[in-house]
Amino acid sequence: MPDQLLFAAEVSINGLMTGVMYALVALGFVLIYKASGIFNYAQGVMALFAAMTLVGIQEGRVPFAHLINSITGAHVSTVGFEIPAILAILLTVAVMVGFAWLVQKVVFKHLVGQEPIILFMATIGLAYFLEGVSDLMWGSEIRTLDVGLPQGINDAIDQGTFNAFGYGFFIDNLDIAAAIIAAILVAVLIAFSQYTKQGRAMRAVADDHQAALSVGISLNYVWVLVWSLAGIVALVAGIMWGSKSGVQFSLSLIALKALPVLMLGGFTSIPGAIVGGLIIGVGEALFEFAVGPLIGGATENWFAYVLALAFLVFRPQGLFGERIIERV
C-alpha cells in the first residue's frame, strides 16, 4: 500500500476517535433540546464543572475552600484522604443530578411557556454563573484527571498494522476506551428512550408539552430527568477530554465544536449526534492532512463550520433530524 494512503487511513481513524468526543458533547445538547426545546449553551460548562467536581472529589478537596478560609479564617484545603475513582464518579453523578434539579427549580420552572430566545438567554446566564461557581468551588488551577482509563499508544494495533503494511498506526488507548464508552452510553440512552415508560414520557414531552401535561405527565419531572441525563453525558465527556488534555477552562469551549456536529446530525437525533460527530472528526482530520499543508494549516478551526454551513443550505434539518411532519 502506498505511504500516503496509509497515512490517510491513520489520520481517518484518529479523526473518528476525536469525532466520538465531539459526539459525546453534542449528545448532551440533543437530549435537552429534544425534550424542552431549550438550546443549552451551558452544556460545555457543565462538562467542565463535572470534570472539576470529579477531580476535586477524587483528590479529597474541600469545596469552597477559599471562601471558607477567607470568611472563617480557617485553613482548610483537603479532607486528608483520596477517594477511589469509582466512588468519586458516583458522587459526581449525584452532584449533576442535584444541579439539574436546582436549575429546573430555580430557573426553568418559572420560564415555562416563554419564547425560545428567552430560554436560550437563560442558559447563557447559567453557563457563566456555573463557570464562576466551579471556580469558587474548586479553584481555577489546571488539574490532571486520571480515573484509571488506559493511556498511551496501543501496542497491539501498532504491531499488527506494522506486520501487515510495514507501517505501525498510532492509536491512543484512551481514544479506544472513549469510543467504547460512548457506544455503550448511546445504546443505553436509546434503549431508555425507546422502551421504558419514562423514556416514552420524555419523547412525548419533546413532541407536545401541552398534550403531555394533559395526560398527566409532569413536565418538571421529565425536565429534571433530561437535565440529569445531560449532566451525566457532560460528565462522561468531561472525563474523556479531561483525561486527554487536563481539566481547565478551555474544556468548556468544546461546546463550540459540538455546534457543527449538531447542524450536521440534526438537533433532535441521538444517532445523528454520533454520526455527525464522526463525520466532522474524520472530515476535519482528512482535510487538514490533505489541504492543510497547501494553505498553511490550522484548517480544523473552521473546516467543521464550513461543512455545517453547507448542510444548513441544503438540508436544514440535518442528516437525521426529525422530519417536520406536515399534513397537507
Binding site: V112, G113, K197, R200, A201, R203, A204, A206, D207, D208, H209, Q210, A211, A212, L213, S214, V215, G216, I217, S218, L219, E322, I325, R327
Partner: protein
C-alpha cells in the same frame, strides 16, 4: 339579555340525571390571561355522573378556556382562575396540577387532537396510562380501546403524525381512555372532520358513555350534532353562560334555533338582519 329568563335557564341538570351524583361543579369562575385579559366572566356549570354535558358557543366564547380551567392546563398558557371555585366530587381542585387531576379521573382531550406526532399510535395510547400503577391491567385496557377504535389497531405501528385527522382524533380519545377516566373533557372533537366522521366519533362517545359509564363535558361549535348526543347543554357567549337547559329543550328554543342551528320560524332571514339583531342583543346584555 334574557328575554324570558324562566324559559332559558334550566335547573343545571337534565331530568334523567336529577338524582345522579354531581361530579364536577364549576361555580362562577373568572379567568384572566397574562394578568390583563379577562376571558371568563362568571361561568357556572355542573356535570352529573354518567351524563354528556355540552358546552356550546361560537369562536372565542370561552369554551376551551373553561375546559382548561377545569383540567388546570391554563397555567402553562399564563392564565389563571381569579374568582370562583371548581369542585370535583366536592373537593376543590383548582390548585391541583394536571397530573393530580388525571389521577382523580378527570382528563382533557384537547382541541386539535394534539397527538404525539413522532410516537406510534400505540405509544400514544400508552402515554395515557402514565399515571397508572396497575401495570397488569394496562394491556387489557389497550385491547379494549382497540375494540372501540378498530381503525387504531390497524395503524398501531404508524407514527401518529402520518395518520388522518379522524384517526388522530380517535387516538387522542383513546389515549385519554387509557387513563381510566371517570370524566373526559372533550374539546371540539368535530374540528376539521368530514360530517360522516363526526357522526362516527360522536357515536363512539355515546357508546363509551353508555357502556363504560364515562361522563363527558363536551365543548363544541357544531351545536346541531352536540345537542343530538348530549343530555344537557350550556350556551356560552363572551365568557358568560347565557342559556342552559336539557338538550331537547335547547333544540326547540327559538333563539337557539335561529342563532346556532340556522333555522327560523319565519323562514330564512337575510344575513344582514341576523347580524344587526345579534348586535342589539349583545348591547342589552
Amino acid at each position: 339579555m334574557l328575554d324570558q329568563p324562566a324559559e332559558v335557564h334550566g335547573e343545571g341538570v337534565a331530568p334523567e340525571f336529577r338524582d345522579a351524583e354531581v361530579l364536577l361543579e364549576v361555580n362562577n369562575i373568572e379567568v384572566i390571561y397574562n394578568h390583563v385579559i379577562l376571558v371568563l366572566k362568571g361561568v357556572s356549570l355542573a356535570v352529573p355522573k354518567g351524563g354528556i354535558t355540552a358546552l356550546l358557543g361560537g369562536n372565542g366564547a370561552g369554551k376551551t378556556t373553561t375546559l382548561k380551567a377545569i383540567s388546570n392546563l391554563l397555567h402553562s398558557e399564563r392564565g389563571e382562575v381569579t374568582k370562583g371555585t371548581i369542585r370535583y366530587r366536592g373537593e376543590r381542585v383548582q390548585d391541583l396540577n394536571p397530573s393530580a387531576l388525571v389521577e382523580r379521573g378527570v382528563i382533557q382531550v384537547m382541541e386539535g387532537r394534539h397527538c404525539f406526532e413522532h410516537l406510534t399510535v400505540e405509544e400514544n395510547l400508552l402515554t395515557g396510562s402514565y399515571t397508572r400503577t396497575d401495570r397488569g391491567q394496562i394491556d387489557a385496557d389497550l385491547e379494549k380501546v382497540y375494540t372501540y377504535f378498530p381503525r387504531l389497531k390497524e395503524r398501531r405501528k404508524s407514527q401518529a403524525g402520518y395518520t388522518s385527522g379522524g384517526e388522530q382524533q380517535m387516538c387522542a380519545i383513546g389515549r385519554a381512555l387509557m387513563s381510566k377516566p371517570e370524566t373526559i373533557l372533550l374539546d371540539e372533537p368535530s374540528m376539521g372532520l368530514a360530517p360522516q366522521l363526526v357522526e362516527e366519533i360522536f357515536g363512539i362517545v355515546k357508546s363509551l358513555n353508555e357502556q363504560e359509564g364515562v361522563s363527558f363535558l363536551l365543548a363544541e361549535q357544531n351545536t346541531n350534532v352536540a345537542l343530538r348526543f348530549a343530555h344537557y347543554g350550556y350556551i356560552l357567549e363572551s365568557g358568560r353562560v347565557v342559556m342552559d337547559g336539557p338538550a331537547h329543550d335547547l333544540r326547540e328554543n327559538p333563539d337557539v334555533k335561529e342563532f346556532y342551528l340556522g333555522m327560523s320560524d319565519e323562514g330564512r332571514k337575510s344575513f344582514r338582519d341576523v347580524r344587526s339583531y345579534r348586535r342589539r342583543k349583545r348591547w342589552l346584555s
